[in-house]
Subunit: 603 residues, 2 copies
């Protein structure tokens, strides 16, 4: 594939590179005396010398050949003695929205960790503001050196007919997106039932991507590696990050599918399959690394692709193999191996100088030959992005939430009622469809704090007065107070949960006022707030600030009585109608096995 | 890259493949119980079951999963018990003209040997009839299942200004060729001095190919692996078959260049570098296999890519690694890994059933799921191609060669004269620039059979009466009689060599009459003749017939006194002005170090 992510197309600068390689014209940058991580040969080569021009590698001096002939008076000379030079790391599948910042700010966070490219699926923004929103989100990215390669979201809405979303994306939209210069493939095709069932739109989106000669990324969650997986791959879906078992990984590799081995903030799959994968001895050429979702605190505290590489090596992976996964393999997955992913002549000069191949701490990071980060700090500043109003005014509730709004009225006498409840177990993504008794007082179904049965409501925030909202119950969180968030997969409606209507109302009001985000309320007081005014998903603040706010809200969860890990994530997927068993959308309960709506009252 | 070489584009048939994989619609073909050579994981997997539809793999049953659910009443079921199923072999660089038959007939010869795809550079036809000729040559190929992927010739003429060729190809022509559906890259960029010297046309051809997102193949012959090679690769040239030493191969791989490891009819490079390459332990992902030139007798007697694989394994290469080189690596070299090169769902069903992984004898060969060869025989017939007249009338000498034509007149008295002579050593491609004394009789420079100094002449066969011809001398062949051929690299003018003018005249007349080819004449009698009426390069007969005629002319060479191996090849490159030291073109002697013309008389 031709890519728009190099500073200068090779066909415009090959004559100059030829002259620089031969010392007839000076290089822009020369990196001397590095230990080269050669991902094409799987070697570490001592004393490598790299000359860069037009953002590309012009000359690679090995075997005692210096690049001194490429040095002129204005050449920036970098002494890399003692450092490894590896190709810049690439995340083969990421939703930047999970980091709660825009792509430019995200870049400021991840580039110092050696990440030079991401293959990003703006699925969350797509659900709120459609492809136009996704496009707008990536305009922000053009201000920073990170290569933010877009795979537009394929599944908006994730499931048809059970909720109200802010947008819908069809095959014809994908066809148009394939003409954008920053689109390199299709975002994860979560609708595998649609593919297997021959749905026109699902197959059509894949077809439009294939016509554009781009890669289709997948999402095949079920532990099945025979007919369904075959059909899914035969449809043209060539990469997948949804493996949980070693046999899932190996089956995909044998079927020619790239696997995006995942180690994100919440989904930590690497330990679950990498040791067995390595022990099997199979060729890892189709293995890439990804985070999928990376929370702001993970970036600030632990890093990004360097963290994934660290984990891979900790699990026994040879470091050069791990780097291959994060570089050349990823580039090839997206048909870009001839443009990036290795430090070789003609390729983009995306280079990380590393202290070692164990911690993968990046001393310096170059993108297109430009020094963009050093010793953990980005060398570029990110000014606040001028978001258009339609990206920052997405709390269109059409009502003013009060305590009254949250009262679930039923035509029942005082006492108790049997209701359907989403049962949550710590660390599990699956919810359980259970029946419990809750109090009925004055014709209102009530939460029961002592029994850990909380009320939960989903408000359509996209359609104003025409929107509907729903009420349900959940057990497992064990809090006193209320939490609300607009990060509620995948429609990102307003989700409010609590043990009393007053706190729930305050939580909802708070988010309605600040444009969305996350909030914790207890006894009429806001304990913590993360404002996410861009689509109700992303902050306009710096990632460090967001991380700090997120940690405060995490503390609030604990203070409110929750002992669950990542309760925010878990709450955020109580509305995710594509994962079993019972979910609550703004239209009400969805049985996620039958995809039928279910009533609140049991029996 | 999107390719036009699959029966149905994936975007047109993915819905059907999905149904077939799930048993909802029958497959066209099911191959059962094969030992799968998995080139994506580097494994051999027992009891693999492959269902094929629309020419593509729809289902791959492993781990005990049969493909029985894909079998309907009309499904062709193949029992592959005891056989290995490997992806079809691909030759990453081949000049079909060296096989002296058209591409369709060539296909009949090589497909039974497991070859399902070739990346072919019609360089010889290009020199005679330009890109139009190359295009015409590949129209013939559309009649057969072999995937004849074209890389149009980049260097026509090979060297500017020292000879008269039938055509010239410029960057603008390449730009047009890149729009043809069967063009997948640029043919070998032999003009590496042009690239290194920044010549507009050489760089421009590369630029046009890169703009079309296709691969540029190379030809970098000098034993240099530093600045020049760097510059050459940085220019965008991504594959090369011209290595002779292990260090040449490893340097290219480290620089991210694909290497087309060669084992052709005349250039047998594999033994010279493969053992050392394997011993080095480097990743072989960028290694492909090629023949470059494959003579008809090699095809008939020894095979094609099966022969190359046999040699690789004989040299110690793991058979699965060798098959990777001939399949997935080659596909990836041309940005086609997502379409072909592995037996995985969605890919073209190009499959070879092999008896073992040592001899690589092909039991059955499938292309796009169609059985096309069995037990060494093609299952398709090739009718004679209706060549247009301009492809078969290329002997435009503009004169009737007689003995008088060959008399080299000089203004010298009887006795001897010191002349420049091309010195040939057996098995070497380099010629030596030597000075010898030859007899002068009646103002004519004469050959001297006893001293093994033959006369050699090159006739422009492209420009008729406007053409010029030249005369020179050669030593090393040691024959009595005359030989003539129109396969004379790269202009493919008429080359005539002998120890007497009468036999030379008969040889030239014979080829002029039959449209070109090769002929051996002694004492007024034609000993052997290979008619090559298509561009003076290719026969219209079957490859077995051509091989038989070639063997007869080889015998004639021996009978005439030549002890050199492959004298026909060696004679054919006495006119190749891009290889040192001294060559004779139709304009006269060329010093191939300085690229200056040289006079016949020394001093």
């Amino acid at each position: 594939m031709i890519n728009a992510f190099c500073k200068v197309p090779l066909w415009e600068c090959n004559g100059k590179l030829v002259r620089v390689a031969q010392g007839q014209e000076p290089a822009d940058v020369v990196i001397r005396h590095a230990k080269l991580v050669s991902v094409t040969t799987h070697e570490v080569l001592e004393n490598a010398n790299i000359a860069i021009s037009c953002g590309r590698v012009a000359y690679l001096g090995l075997d005692g050949h210096t690049a001194d002939h490429c040095i002129g008076p204005d050449t920036q000379v970098v002494d890399a003695t003692g450092y490894y030079a590896a190709p810049g790391f690439m995340d083969s599948h990421i939703h930047v929205e999970s980091s709660m910042v825009g792509v430019a700010e995200y870049a400021r966070g991840v580039v110092p960790h050696g990440t030079t490219g991401i293959f990003a699926d703006p699925h969350e923004v797509g659900n709120v503001r459609g492809l136009a929103g996704a496009r707008c989100m990536f305009e922000d990215a053009r201000r920073v050196p990170l290569k933010a390669m877009m795979t537009p979201p394929s599944c908006v809405p994730a499931v048809q007919g059970v909720e109200d979303t802010g947008s819908a994306i069809f095959a014809k939209d994908i066809a148009e997106a394939m003409t954008w210069d920053n689109v390199v493939g299709l975002g994860e095709m979560m609708n595998f039932p649609g593919i297997l069932g021959g749905e026109d739109n699902a197959l059509g989106e894949v077809q439009e991507t294939l016509k554009a000669d781009k890669a289709v990324t997948g999402h095949y969650t079920i532990p099945e590696t025979d007919r369904g997986l075959n059909a899914y791959i035969a449809a043209g879906i060539s990469a997948d990050h949804e493996c949980s078992r070693p046999e899932d990984v190996i089956a995909r590799l044998r079927m020619g599918m790239y696997v995006q081995l995942r180690f994100g903030s919440a989904w930590l799959n690497l330990p679950g399959y990498l040791p067995q994968l390595l022990a099997s001895g199979v060729d890892t050429r189709l293995c890439t690394l990804c985070t999928d979702d990376c929370h702001p605190d993970t970036i600030v505290r632990d890093g990004h692709m360097d963290r994934v590489l660290r984990e891979a090596v900790r699990l026994g992976c040879d470091p050069v193999t791990a780097i291959q996964m994060a570089t050349i393999n990823t580039a090839e997955c997206f048909h870009l191996g001839h443009e990036m992913g290795s430090i070789t002549p003609g390729k983009c000069a995306d280079i990380v100088l590393l202290e070692d191949l164990r911690d993968f701490r990046a001393h310096q990071v170059f993108i297109d030959g430009q020094l963009v980060a050093q010793d953990g700090r980005a060398l570029f500043e990110v000014e606040p992005y001028q978001w258009p109003d339609w990206m920052t005014h997405t709390m269109n509730l059409g009502l003013e939430p009060t305590a009254e709004t949250f009262k679930t009225r039923v035509d029942l006498p005082d006492g108790t009622a049997r209701v359907r409840v989403m049962g949550i177990l710590p660390g599990e993504t699956i919810t359980h469809d259970v029946v419990r008794e809750v109090p009925v007082r004055d014709g209102v179904l009530c939460a029961d704090h002592d029994a850990d049965i909380l009320k939960i409501c989903v408000f359509d925030r996209h359609h104003g007065a025409e929107g509907v909202h729903s009420q349900g119950f959940v057990t497992g969180f064990g809090i006193h107070g209320a939490l609300a968030q607009t990060v509620s997969h995948d429609a990102h409606n307003l989700l409010v949960m609590g043990d009393n209507d007053e706190d729930m109302a305050l939580a909802a009001q708070t988010l309605a006022q600040c444009g969305g985000g996350e909030v914790a309320v207890q006894d009429g007081r806001v304990l913590a707030l993360v404002e996410l005014p861009v689509c109700g998903l992303m902050s306009t603040e710096r990632v460090e600030v967001v991380a700090e706010k997120v940690s405060r809200i995490e503390q609030a969860w604990k203070d409110m009585g929750c002992t669950m890990p990542s309760p925010f994530m878990t709450m955020g997927i109580t509305s995710l109608a594509c994962v079993p068993e019972l979910r609550l959308t703004n239209r009400g309960y969805v049985n996620c096995l039958s995809f039928q709506m279910e009533p609140l009252l049991a029996d």
